[in-house]
C-alpha cells in the first residue's frame, strides 16, 4: 500500500474521484477501467493486491501517472474501515463517488444448510457494505454532494431455493441502499442500486443455468450510464427489468414449486 497522493486537479485538468471496493476482478476491474477512461481518479480495494496493482499500472500507463492507487483490504475486516476511509480520502484529495462491489456467491445445493457459508456471504455482501457506505454517507451528507453506488443483484429480488443467504444478503443491501437514498437525496447525495443479471465473471463460471450473460465491460458501461443519469435502481442489462417484473409477481404458491 503506497502512501503517495494522486495528482491534484487544476481548473483545466479536473478529476472526479472514486473509491471502488472489490476491484480486483470481474465487474469491479471493468468499472475501474471505465471510470479512468471517463476522467476519474480511482482508489481500488480488494484482497488481491497484485491484481489491483496490475490494474493500477495499466490505468496509470494509459491515463498518466497518479490516476489510480491500490489498497489491500478484506471487507470482513470492518474495524479497519474508518481509518482506511480517511487515508484514502487523503490520498485521493477528496471523494466524489463510492462504489461497493465486493460480493461472493458460495454455491449450496438445494438441500444444504451451511451456516459458515451463509455468514461469510452476509459478511462480504452486506455487512462490508454497511462498514464502507456508512462513513461515506456521513462524509457526503456534510458536504451535501457525492454519489453512493451499491452493486446488488437480480438475485436479491426474490428468495429462491438455490441461494437463500445470497438472496437475503443482496435484498438486505437493496433495502439499506433504499433507506440511504431516502435519507440522503434531500442532502444532495445520489444513491444508485445496481442489479446486474448474469455477468461473465468467476462468480458464475460453475452456475449450471445462465441466461442473457454479458461481459463485465458491458456491465461496467451500463453502471456508468446509470451513474451519469442519476437513476435510482438499474438492472444491467435493462432486459432484466422486464424479466424481474414478471418474476417478482409470480405468486408464492407457484414460486414454492419452482426449482430455480
Amino acid at each position: 500500500m503506497s502512501n503517495s497522493r494522486l495528482t491534484s486537479q487544476t481548473p483545466l485538468k479536473s478529476y472526479r474521484r472514486a473509491l471502488l471496493v472489490g476491484a480486483s476482478s470481474g465487474i469491479g476491474a471493468a468499472l475501474a477501467h471505465q471510470l479512468a477512461e471517463k476522467g476519474y481518479q480511482v482508489a481500488l480495494l480488494g484482497r488481491r493486491l497484485e491484481m489491483l496493482e496490475a490494474i493500477c499500472a495499466e490505468i496509470n500507463q494509459k491515463h498518466g501517472q497518479g490516476q489510480a492507487i491500490a489498497f489491500a483490504h478484506d471487507v470482513e475486516d470492518t474495524e479497519q474501515v474508518p481509518a482506511l476511509f480517511g487515508q484514502i480520502v487523503k490520498q485521493l484529495g477528496g471523494l466524489d463517488t463510492i462504489i461497493y462491489n465486493a460480493g461472493i456467491l458460495l454455491p449450496v445445493t438445494v438441500t444444504e444448510f451451511d451456516t459458515e457459508k451463509d455468514l461469510q456471504m452476509t459478511q462480504i455482501n452486506y455487512l462490508g457494505a454497511l462498514a464502507w457506505l456508512n462513513p461515506a454517507a456521513a462524509y457526503f451528507q456534510t458536504l451535501k454532494t457525492g454519489q453512493i453506488v451499491g452493486i446488488g443483484s437480480v438475485a436479491g429480488d426474490r428468495g429462491r431455493v438455490g441461494a437463500p443467504a445470497y438472496n437475503a444478503s443482496k435484498a438486505a443491501l437493496h433495502t439499506y441502499l433504499e433507506a440511504l437514498r431516502n435519507r440522503l437525496t434531500r442532502r444532495g447525495v445520489h444513491v444508485l442500486t445496481v442489479k446486474p443479471g448474469f455477468v461473465a465473471t468467476a462468480m458464475i463460471k460453475d452456475s449450471p443455468r445462465t441466461l442473457m450473460v454479458i461481459s463485465p465491460e458491458a456491465a461496467a458501461a451500463g453502471i456508468y450510464r446509470a451513474m451519469q443519469s442519476h437513476q435510482q435502481t438499474v438492472y444491467v442489462p435493462f432486459q432484466w427489468a422486464l424479466l424481474m417484473q414478471v418474476i417478482r409477481h409470480i405468486p408464492s404458491f407457484i414460486f414454492r414449486r419452482l426449482s430455480f
Binding site: S4, R5, S8, Q9, T10, P11, L12, K13, S14, P82, A83, F85, G86, Q87, V89, K90, Q91, L92, G93, G94, L95, A138, Y139, T142, L143, T145
Partner: protein, 471 residues
Amino acid sequence: MNPQSLPFERLKTLENFGHSLQAQSYLYRPTNVEQMNEVFKQAKQSGLTVALRGAGRSYNDAALNGGGIVMDIQDMNRIVEWNPETGLITCEPGVTLQKLWQHILPDGWWPPVVSGTMTTTLGGCLGMNIHGKNNFKMGTIGEQVVEFKALLPTGAEITCSPKLNGDLFHAMISGMGMLGVFTAITLQMKRVYSGMLNVHAWNVPNLESHIQALTENAPNNNYTVGWLDSTASGAGMGRGQLHTANYLPEGEDPNPKKTLQVAYQTLPATMFGVFPKSIIHYFMAPFMINPGVWLINTAKYIAGMREGHHPQSHAAFHFLLDYVPNWELAYGRSGLIQYQSFIPKETVREAWREILTLTQKRGLPSYLGVTKRHRPDKFLLSHAVDGFSLALDFKVTQGNRARLSALLQELDQIVLEAGGRFYFAKNSETSPETAKRYLGEETIERFKALKKRTDPNGLLESDLYRRVFGS
C-alpha cells in the same frame, strides 16, 4: 500508528477565486495563536497536512488542500496597534486591505501597496507577496513590512524583520504559506493629503506605443497600469488604454477632511444609478463569448479615444475588481483562469507579440488583458523582473479545457524562452518543470531547506505546493 480521524462536521467544499476549482477539506477557523497551534497538533495526530487560507482570492489552488486541513485565518482580524503619527500599523493576518485602509484613511494614510481587490487578507498578501499598480516605484507589499511574528508548525513563535531572521523574512513573504503562519504583521503606511487621486487616461494604438507608454510613465507617476485589448490583431495588436494616477500634494485638496472619509470612498451601489450592482454579472454573462468580448473591447477602445483627466477616489481607482460584485460569476459555471507572466524589458516586445498572436491563432483570445511595469525584489520565490507583466483572463468551458491547457503550455515556453517568470497567486497550470526553470533549482533547494527547518514534519502543504514543488 493508527491516525486519529477528524470529525466530518469540519468538512467543507472550498473554491478558488475564479470558481474553477473545488476541494473538500477539514476547515478550521482559529481566533488566536493557541488555536492555530492546536490545528497543527491535530494535523500531526491525524496524519493530515494543513494549507493556510485567507479570503480565498487566489485564482489557483494556493488556498486549497483536497482531503486535508485548511486553516482559515479570517477570524484573526484585529488591528493590534495603529500610530497615526508614524504611520506604523500592526495587524493580525486576517485583517483585510479593506479593513486596513478604512481604519487609516481618515487619519491621512493609505496602504502603500494594494491588490486589485480589497477583500484580500494581509496574511494572504504577504504569503503571495502581492504588488499593485505601483510595483515599479514601491516594490511589493513585502517591502512595506517592518516586522512580522509567525507561528511555525513546530509550535515555535518567531519574529522576523529584514535584519532579524532575514532569510526567513525574505522566504516567508512570498513563501505561499508553506513555512509558517503569520500571527502579527507590522507595516509602514503612506501619508496622503487627499482622498482623491489625479487620474489620467489615454489610448495607445499598438504594442510598441503601449510598452513605450508604460516605460515612460511608470517612473514618473505614483501609479501606472495598462488595459490591453487582446482581441485586436494586425497593426492594432497590443492597443489599449493607459491609466496613471498621482497623489495630490499637500494643500491641493480644498477639503481633505471630507475626501479622506470612508463614506466618500465607497463604491456606488448601483450602475447608471438604476441597476443594483449585485445583479450586473447576470447582464455581463451573455457577452462572455468571443464576439461579445471583441465588441466590448472595441467599444472600450473607441470610448477611450477622448483623452481624459479626472479625479478619482483611492478605492475606486484601486479596487476595480470589487466594482462589480461577483463579476467572476459572469464567466459561467466552469469559471475563469488567469495567466500572468512577467517578462524582462529586453524581450517583452517579441514575447507579447508571440503570446497575443498565439492566443488568437488558437481561437482562445483572452477576455481581459492588464499590463504593468515591474522591478525585481529580494524575496525568495519572487515573480518580479525588471520588465513588464501581462495578465490574461480566460473563460473556462466544458469544451475548451484541453485546448486551453495546451495553449498555456505553449505560452509557458514563450515566457521561459524570454527569461520570464510567473506568480503563484495566479497561474493554475504551472508545471514543476516550469517552476524549476524560472526559479532555478538552487532557489527551490534553498526554500526546501528552510521548510525543513521551520516545518520538519511537512505539515504545511497546499494543492499548489504539491503541484509545483511535489510533496
